[in-house]
């Protein structure tokens, strides 16, 4: 099957993108500046990310929709305000994660942003769990653009007036070229920023205006180093069907009011919160520049295997090798000495705090 192209494909080409196949899409991994420069530009100025491959699922329905969705997600959706967003998961009955997602309450229902590789399966799971009672649309007509970094608010403000008034994890409809666009203050880089849902035929125009105002296109390569420095999980690497949100150290995303109530995997989550977990996601810093990538085995000082790495890279802003992985719970305290097996050699490393890079989110209403 031929890979899909996003509405920005021609613009990516014009900016000398190197493309990779990702979840059935031809996506830019980097542009001519390279991953490190693109990463640093996002941390110091602002970067534009084409994330149109991600799923934008609209679910519309009457009042009972909120109740029905609460059977799916461990969130207190009744308390979610209009235009407010939450991070959550779609789980199976064993509390394994089908996908991680952002759900936003919109006028007619909810908008759920899904990972590209999971979106079609997610659609089927959600459709089945909702018994086909609601109108669901996984949009093909919309693109999704993120602008991230300390200058993002100023750049976007010049193109979309009043967008800088948005609060963290809140969204609003704006007008662009006689077309309605939906902007949320969110992202996945550890920086202040926005995600913009916009009609495919207006996307290039908007991005060109952002570029004219000093932003730059950033590829998926830098998106990965940025999110890893920020300690954020990549679905398929750091979380999947074999990890629960508790093991992934994402308990904060489960609404306290929902711990005793029913949703897929709720019994296991409740038990794990009460009795603890056998393995836990941690931050890891190798003592040398060596990079410990996903699947690298982790050992204790007695040469006993105690876990494995799920993501690892060189962090351009922290200027050292960084990784995340799962270790047995007795090894998860900060500064525990561990060893990573890279190309047959044992590399010393230490368990460390996440994130590696201090977040620069806009201060404001953050209630989890």
């Amino acid at each position: 099957m031929e890979s899909k192209k996003t509405s920005l494909f021609n613009l990516h080409q014009k900016h000398e993108a190197k493309f990779v196949e990702f979840a059935g899409y031809k996506m830019p991994i980097q542009y001519k500046d390279g991953i490190i420069q693109e990463h640093k530009f996002t941390r110091t100025k602002s970067g534009i990310f084409d994330v149109s491959h991600m799923g934008q699922l609209f679910i519309r329905g009457k009042e009972d929709l909120t109740k029905s969705l609460e059977k799916l997600f461990p969130l207190d959706l009744k308390k979610l305000n209009l235009d407010q967003s939450k991070y959550s998961f779609l789980m199976n009955d064993e509390a394994g994660i089908y996908d991680d997602l952002i759900i936003t309450k919109i006028k007619e229902g909810y908008l759920i942003i899904l990972n590209a590789a999971c979106k079609n399966q997610d659609y089927k799971i959600i459709e089945e769990k909702l018994d086909n009672n609601y109108e669901m649309n996984l949009s093909e007509n919309l693109s999704l653009i993120a602008i991230q970094g300390p200058d993002a608010k100023n750049v976007l403000e010049k193109v979309i007036p009043n967008s800088n008034k948005l609060k963290f994890m809140n969204g609003k409809n704006f007008n662009f070229e006689d077309s309605s666009i939906y902007i949320t203050r969110s992202g996945y880089t550890g920086e202040d920023g926005f995600e913009i849902s916009i009609n495919n035929n207006k996307t290039q125009k908007l991005v060109e205006l952002l570029l004219e105002n000093g932003s730059k296109l950033i590829g998926l390569g830098a998106r990965d180093t940025l999110r890893l420095e920020a300690g954020l999980c990549l679905y398929g690497n750091d979380i999947d069907l074999k990890t629960s949100p508790i093991e992934a150290n994402l308990k904060w995303a489960i609404a306290k009011s929902r711990i005793e109530t029913d949703y897929p995997g709720s019994n296991i989550i409740k038990n794990q919160i009460k009795n603890g977990v056998k393995k836990l996601r941690v931050g890891i810093k190798p003592e040398t520049r060596v990079i410990a990538r996903g699947e690298t085995k982790i050992y204790n000082d007695q040469n006993k295997e105690i876990g494995k790495i799920t993501s690892g890279t060189f962090g351009p802003s922290v200027e050292c090798s960084i990784a995340m992985g799962y270790v047995e719970n007795t090894y998860c305290s900060i500064d525990t000495k561990i060893f990573l097996e890279v190309r047959g050699k044992k590399v010393p490393a230490n368990i460390c705090n996440l994130p590696f890079y201090k977040k620069n989110y806009l201060k404001g209403e953050i209630n989890v």
Partner: protein, 126 residues
């Protein structure tokens, strides 16, 4: 007069008498992207033609470095270990990887000249 030759694994070889200086080509460095880690064999060790002789890692992936010639490593370039970004800046100059004393000069025969390599790398870049 020194002579520069190229291997199919994208290494360059500068020949001066018994000594070969070896690094990775500009084409290889561009394909790898930003290089962030280098591991080289120890000085004094012996390497065999087409055998592994170190590792480079870019932000994207790890790749083995192969030696196109057999011999004893008489010098390694510590400066690229300390600052791997030098390889992207000057891959065919200051950022050489190691120097070896050749064991068998006939191995040079399997290498390409610049023109042949340029054609090869053009055909083999994806």
């Amino acid at each position: 007069m020194s002579e520069v030759k190229f291997s199919k694994e994208h290494e360059w070889v500068k020949l001066e008498g018994e000594v070969a200086t070896i690094g990775i080509t500009k084409h290889a460095a561009e394909m790898l992207g930003d290089i962030v880690f280098v591991e080289l064999p120890e000085k004094g060790s012996n390497v065999e033609k087409d055998g592994s002789a170190g590792v480079v890692e870019s932000t994207k992936a790890a790749s083995d470095v192969y030696t196109p010639l057999s011999g004893e490593l008489i010098d390694i370039n510590q400066s690229i270990v300390d600052d791997p970004s030098k390889i992207n800046k000057d891959p065919e100059g200051d950022a050489w990887f190691f120097k070896l004393k050749m064991k068998d000069k006939s191995e040079i025969g399997s290498l390409m000249n610049r023109e042949e390599y340029d054609k090869f790398s053009k055909e083999n870049s994806s």
